[in-house]
């Protein structure tokens, strides 16, 4: 078992994480290598905060070149 898996397991047992559906979902998606799910979740959170994630990524890529 890798270090990250151990850390994740410890996190999963924390009561504040157990009571947090978002955190639970993130950990599960990470464990299942569900990158699309993680991306969708990030996009949803950004939308709720009034941020267009795609525009941000495009800007980031421009500056990164």
């Amino acid at each position: 078992m890798s270090m990250i898996d151990l850390l994740l397991r410890q996190m999963m047992n924390r009561p504040d994480v157990q009571n947090n559906p978002m955190a639970q979902n993130v950990i599960k998606m990470y464990q299942n290598h569900d990158t699309q799910g993680l991306q969708n979740m990030a996009s949803n959170i950004a939308k709720e905060r009034g941020i267009n994630l795609e525009n941000y990524l495009q800007e980031f890529q421009k500056y990164n070149r």
Binding site: D16, P21, M22, N25, N40, S43, N44, E48, G50
Partner: protein, 145 residues
């Protein structure tokens, strides 16, 4: 043989800060006691004039809910982050409840109505039984005479 007489040398009275001291003060061990955190159940949210004022930052990301009553109490919204990163909203609108005594009284009236119905049923049955018994008893009395 003369006893050795202890004579303090003049140097002994002087303070020697670098001399190693054999006596050590017992070190005071302070045991750290973490402060007891009393978790008070606090409600997240605030009163708003318009629900458009609410931002995503007003909703806690720890899985809890945030309650946003309108200032005029015409509506209450409860918001919570979903597992997929969206915010779900539930709206509550008030229903005017008349004073508590009136509702209790109406409940009592309903109970009384039920009891009266039951009574009436029992009395009807008793009347039927009486009707069945009375002619027979009269006949029996007549026979006895």
């Amino acid at each position: 043989m003369p006893m050795p007489y202890y004579q303090p040398s003049p140097m002994q009275n002087t303070f020697m800060p670098y001399q190693s001291c054999s006596y050590q003060q017992p070190s005071q061990q302070y045991q750290y006691t973490p402060p007891v955190q009393v978790q008070t159940p606090n409600l997240n949210g605030r009163t708003v004039n318009n629900f458009n004022e609410i931002t995503a930052n007003d909703v806690p990301m720890n899985g809890g809910i945030a309650i946003f009553p309108k200032a005029d109490l015409s509506e209450i919204e409860v918001r919570q982050w979903n597992a997929n990163g969206t915010i779900s909203t539930r709206s509550f609108k008030p229903t005017l409840i008349e004073s508590g005594t009136n509702t209790q009284q109406s409940e009592n009236n309903a109970d009384l109505g039920q009891i009266e119905g039951l009574w009436q049923g029992i009395i009807d049955r008793l009347d039927n039984i009486e009707k069945l018994i009375t002619p027979k008893t009269r006949k029996a009395e007549e026979k006895a005479q």
